[in-house]
């Protein structure tokens, strides 16, 4: 085995792992919130009252959740303990479920 291969690592830093987990949670939350406000008009009205438009509020909440959780997971080093490949799987799975969930929700409900 040459030295290049031996020096390779398969771990993510606390910041990367933290923000990956935060992104996975934020994209799932985004789909859940989109479906919830579509199904429950008072929630949509409340979100509209916060910024003038429910879509604007949703974007800001998503962004705050992603950044906030990202910093929390980085500081607490929670996500760093998760295997890197599992974390990648969680992100890809979350994006797949969230994206497909949105398309199916608006196509059939």
């Amino acid at each position: 085995m040459d030295s290049t291969i031996r020096s390779e690592t398969a771990k993510l830093t606390a910041a990367t792992a933290g923000f990956v987990l935060a992104a996975a949670i934020a994209v799932l939350f985004n789909t859940a919130l989109a479906c919830a406000k579509d199904a429950y008009a008072p929630l949509k009205d409340f979100m509209k009252s916060l910024s003038g438009h429910d879509w604007t509020t949703q974007g800001l909440v998503d962004l705050l959740l992603f950044v906030g959780l990202g910093f929390i997971f980085t500081i607490t080093r929670v996500a760093e303990k998760i295997n890197a490949n599992h974390l990648i799987g969680v992100l890809v799975g979350a994006v797949g479920v969230a994206g497909l969930g949105l398309a199916l929700w608006y196509a059939f409900f």
């Binding site: 290049t4 020096s7 390779e8 690592t9 398969a10 771990k11 993510l12 830093t13 910041a15 990367t16 923000f19 990956v20 992104a23 934020a26 994209v27 985004n30 789909t31 989109a34 579509d38 003038g52 438009h53 879509w55 604007t56 949703q58 974007g59 998503d62 962004l63 992603f66 990202g70 890197a84 490949n85 974390l87 990648i88 992100l91 890809v92 994006v95 969230a98 994206g99 949105l102 398309a103 608006y106 196509a107």
Partner: protein, 163 residues
């Protein structure tokens, strides 16, 4: 010949342009990461930053246009022959875009890893960049359907008026 271009047109086209540029920057990251080595680390990080900045600009332009100019087009779509251009495609697009944007903001963080010596980080960056390209192009495609929904609603109205 005088140009009749409104601010609405400029903002809408800027939105689509930034979106496509962001997708292309993500593809650039993908290709560079396949051959990640110390020499191209700078290019990978620059491209990741370009993807994030373009998606932020697409968000701002698209958001402003959606809130201020889209309601009139939405009304046309809903009374035209393709109401699903709004009910399915716009509703999905406007929320799917948040996923693309979050991934684009994650990309510069992930590219801070030492990609040339970390296979897990390379795999992560390839996945994020690939997902940005896929979801971004889906959003672009939905935009084309919405645009066509407005067009055929207007054509339908013109043809009805002519009869």
């Amino acid at each position: 010949m005088p140009l009749n271009i409104s601010s609405s047109d400029v903002i809408l086209l800027a939105h689509a342009t930034f979106g496509v540029t962001g997708c292309m920057a993500a593809l650039w990251v993908f290709v560079e990461t396949l051959n990640a080595r110390p020499a191209n680390t700078g290019r990978i990080r620059t491209a990741a930053l370009v993807a994030a900045v373009c998606m932020a600009a697409a968000w701002i332009c698209g958001g402003y246009w959606y809130v201020h100019f889209y309601p009139a087009e939405k009304a046309w779509i809903l009374k035209g022959p393709w109401p699903f251009a709004h009910n399915v495609f716009m509703e999905t697009k406007e929320h799917l875009f948040f996923i693309t944007a979050i991934l684009a903001f994650l990309l510069p963080v992930a590219t801070c890893e030492k990609l040339s010596s970390n296979p897990a980080a390379r795999k992560l960056v390839l996945c994020i960049a690939g997902l940005i390209a896929i979801t971004g192009l889906a959003v672009e495609g939905a935009g084309a359907v919405i645009d066509h929904g407005v067009k055929i609603a207007l054509l339908h109205d013109v043809l009805k008026g002519a009869q």
